[in-house]
């Protein structure tokens, strides 16, 4: 398959709550485990024989059902996902006798002193799944899941490496489409499509007409259209440091050195922290600066979902830190499902001009 066909397949995957790969999986009797948040390790679900499926609100026309349950003061991402759930759009998650529910208490600081708690939480989750579904998540299965998810990580890393070039063969809109799709379909099928895509991209001519290279960071973002609006102004997104983007992947998990669950836990817990984490802002800034340098970016566009409090704190802090560092920084607020508006486009244009681009 060629780049356009593969991107079109990924585009179909991300358009709504269901996709053809998911439907095939379910039709073949496969079970699906829905989850929120980058601190939930997909490997456990894969090892248990589930398709890990990251919940999002795509395909929700309006959030009225969620609004009624949660008030309009809760972020629109959550309200849209609740709306979809209330409308039965996630019923494929209930194709089991007794639906499973668990909540992971992830510590709010990625510190060694709190790691054991996180690891214990994963052990508890694993045990709950085993007990609920009457199955065994063996070390061997976990090792297999690590291998599968590492294969995805490697492909995403290769994709991102290509974006470091002066003329990246892929836009930010396309890259985010790919990384979102990675959360919604069987990973082996994703990896196969990625092999074809990467092969094609190595031959592809890159984008040259852009005015500036930017990193997009901030709160949850699973709407490539929003990036398209930014890129239409001449800014090329070269890395999306968001939950559905680079943040969910990172380096590969080491294989075979000790207990696989321990390795999975370390990988997740000590990933580049998101705004929910405290006592680590210097690490977040350092990682962001590294990304700016590696991807040769001209500036940072920070987008935050309205009513997202953790990113409200980081938005304030990043603005001042980047100002001090001399890294151009644009802060935007957005609502879920709303593409970049005229106002956003104007602000991006002004940002590019401010950078002298």
């Amino acid at each position: 398959m060629k780049k356009d066909e593969i991107l079109s397949a990924f585009q179909e995957v991300i358009e709504g709550p269901r996709n053809v790969y998911l439907d095939e999986w379910v039709k073949a009797g496969g079970k699906v485990m829905g989850y929120y948040c980058s601190y939930i390790p997909e490997e456990i679900f894969t090892a248990a024989g589930f398709l890990p499926y990251r919940i999002r609100g795509a395909g929700s026309e309006d959030s009225s059902d969620g609004d009624a349950y949660m008030s309009a003061r809760v972020c629109t991402f959550v309200r849209h996902t609740i709306s979809l759930a209330l409308r039965g759009e996630f019923d494929f998650l209930k194709k089991v006798k007794l639906p499973f529910y668990s909540m992971l208490s992830v510590p709010r600081a990625p510190k060694e002193r709190l790691f054991t708690w996180y690891l214990d939480e994963l052990k508890r989750l694993k045990a709950e799944i085993e007990a609920h579904f009457g199955l065994a998540i063996t070390e061997e299965k976990l090792e297999g899941a690590i291998t599968l998810h590492n294969a995805t990580r490697e492909r995403i890393r290769s994709l991102y490496d290509m974006r470091k070039k002066g003329a990246p063969p892929i836009t930010g809109e396309e890259a985010l489409t790919i990384t979102i799709a990675a959360h919604l379909m069987p990973r082996d099928q994703f990896n196969t499509l990625m092999d074809d895509l990467l092969a094609d991209l190595t031959k592809a001519e890159g984008a040259r007409g852009y005015r500036a290279r930017v990193i997009i960071t901030g709160s949850e973002l699973d709407n490539p259209e929003y990036i398209a609006g930014i890129e239409q102004q001449g800014a090329l997104s070269v890395a999306e440091v968001v939950c559905f983007g680079q943040r969910s992947f990172g380096e590969s998990i080491e294989s075979g050195v000790d207990d696989p669950l321990n390795r999975i836990a370390r990988h997740k817990f000590f990933q580049v922290p998101c705004a929910r984490m405290v006592e680590c802002f210097d690490d977040q800034v350092a990682a962001l600066k590294d990304t700016v340098r590696e991807f040769n970016a001209d500036g940072i566009i920070f987008q935050r979902m309205k009513f997202c409090d953790p990113w409200a704190g980081d938005g304030h802090n990043l603005y001042w830190r980047m100002k001090k560092e001399g890294i151009p920084f644009l802060g935007l607020e957005r609502e879920y499902q709303v593409p970049a508006s005229g106002q956003v486009k104007t602000r991006v244009q002004a940002f590019l001009e401010q950078m002298g681009k």
Partner: protein
Amino acid sequence: MAILGKERQEDWEVVYEGATGLIDLYQEDPESKGMNAIVGGFRVLMDGMFAAMDEGRPVVWHNCGCSPELIRGLEGVQTVPIELLTVLQNLVGEVDYTIALIDEAEAHGVAPEVCSIDKAAVGTVLNDLYPEPACMLYHNTPCDSQIAAIKSLTELTKKPMRLMDVPYLSGDREVQYLAKQLREAIPFLEEHTGRKFSWDRFHEVCEESNRTAKYLRDWNELRRHIPCPQVSKLVALNTALLVAFSGDPEGTAIAKAFHDEARERIERGESTIEGGELYRAVWYQDPVWFDLQFYDWMESELKLVIPMDLFGYYAPEALIDTSTPESMLEGLARKDLRVLPMSRQFKGPIDYYIDDYLRMCTDYKVDFAIFAGHVACKHGLGGIGLFREASREADIPLLYFEFDMFDPRVTPVETIQDDITHYIEDVVRPRKEAA
């Protein structure tokens, strides 16, 4: 009293004089024992803070999810809750000063939808209105807005900060986890304050905390009396008491005043409402801090009393076992997890949140409930649908409105008054009459 040093700044002058004015005005009033005690307690706290600055004693900031007993285990260390100035401004009726701090934080880039008390805390720090901390000890409760605030305050001050991770559930495993963190925080506090932690002192502090808790527990019982013996606004002030005074003899004095006033008035057969109460309601979510006289209006105009609210409710798991260092740490962890208002209800599953509400409605024999939705409180508002369902099932009429507890510009007090008046006229009174 002359105020010394940096605290001469207008914001502190205003609250100090305001507190002094209230004490002068009401100290002889036997009906104001509880209010006098808390205002007086805050003046003592300000004196302590000013003295610490003058004497060069170390100061530790903490947030409202963090009960201060552990910090008090260090000799000579002054605790400062980051919400202190805002609470004082509103307590003495100087809300314009809070508004200025909120505006300043927003102008500095803090998002408008962050909680107003957290924005005001950032504004306070931007204005250099708190004594410089040796370090900061924060809990990740009660909400994400506090996370935004503590991250911003850490960035602004560049002072050492330690986070106590409070997990979502509140069982024994969680108690052990938090207790371990509290133990590990001791060397952090010692290092940055230069003061030694004393287990004997901590024992005394926990004993004091228990004395306060016993009064509050009994006071909660006394507030069940019909008619309600005391003014509604006292329950709104309980969280301020816990955050600022836990482990401090002043806290016990305030709790005792709350308790004694209620008991004495019950013994005298007095109702807080002249002519007798007509309606009783549980007030869930946040008090109208920006206008505490609003409660007087409810009582006099509507004959409506609030015997209990979310902030006044004192869960009975509060007593700390002081027999060993380990039991004290566990007791304090239990208090942080299961007792502090908001921290108890706003984390993890919604069960505590709704169960406490239903229990309050039953225990305090109310005619209806008021869900006063502080706009920034996504943790509370996020559960409104389930909350409504629970109210319907329990046949409790529920009034819901949104406002900002420290910023009258969002919903003016007159609008809140209209909402409550109409709800009583349209729903509560006909229902009572029909019964």
